[in-house]
Amino acid sequence: MRQTHSDKDYQVLQVVAKLLVPYILLFALYVQFHGDFGPGGGFQAGVIFAAGVILYAMAFGLDKAMSLLSPQVLRPLAALGVLIYGGTGVAGMFLGGHFLDYYVLATPPTAGQHLGIFLVELGVGLTVTCVMLLIFFAFAQRAEQAP
């Protein structure tokens, strides 16, 4: 990020990043949707996804990363994640259960649980990715202008 780096440093980083970033993002998706069977879930996936983008930003510059995932898009998406989670809960309420009751979402009961968990993990993943990136952008933008 700093001006003091020579171009060569950047090149190494860029090559490494180019190789790694797609796999990191793929791995994040795997973690997101595989949390039922192995370790993982929305939160870890969100953090890993964000880490992938952060690596990209370090290699190719903050501006490029921010034009790829613009804060103007991330901000509503972060809110949307919370709403997906809450909405799943409210849906349970509308279908005759209590808040966050997944059994009423589908039959058989375990299918309802699967659906509910899938949805809330999606909400978690979305909010965590977006908030982590927003926070990183906010800090990095300031740091870039440091004297």
Binding site: G38, P39, F43, I135, A138, F139
Partner: protein, 117 residues
């Protein structure tokens, strides 16, 4: 009395208190936050330690019969980790703004600045 079973907890308490000490003794706002992180992480270790079963495995069901460690502390700590990073981010954002407003992140110098106004 069987003291051996407590040895782990004592080290964890030492870790907690080291973090706590950094928070209350250091004057640098960023270092205080590092201390807060250490303090919280050590509390996490305490929680996870208590969920351990002898000869247990991770609480993910497998086909072979197994003894599982208690999943509840794991869940609580996952939440607590998130709370921790949220606090850290907010604290650092405050530190950045304080640096901008006061020109320093040392407690003593901030106090001096405020007294001079």
């Amino acid at each position: 009395m069987n003291w051996v079973g407590l040895y782990n907890y004592w080290i964890v308490i030492f870790l907690m208190m080291t973090g706590f000490y950094i928070v209350v003794s250091q004057g640098n706002l960023v270092k205080k936050l590092v201390g807060l992180n250490l303090f919280q992480t050590s509390v996490f270790i305490q929680y996870i330690s208590m969920g351990k079963m002898p000869g247990g495995t991770a609480p993910i069901e497998s086909s072979a019969p197994a003894v599982y460690s208690n999943p509840l502390p794991h869940v609580l700590i996952l939440t607590a980790i998130v709370v921790g990073v949220a606090t850290t981010a907010l604290g650092l954002a405050l530190a950045v703004r304080i640096k901008q407003a006061y020109g320093t992140v040392e407690e003593d110098r901030i106090r001096e600045e405020d007294r001079n106004v």
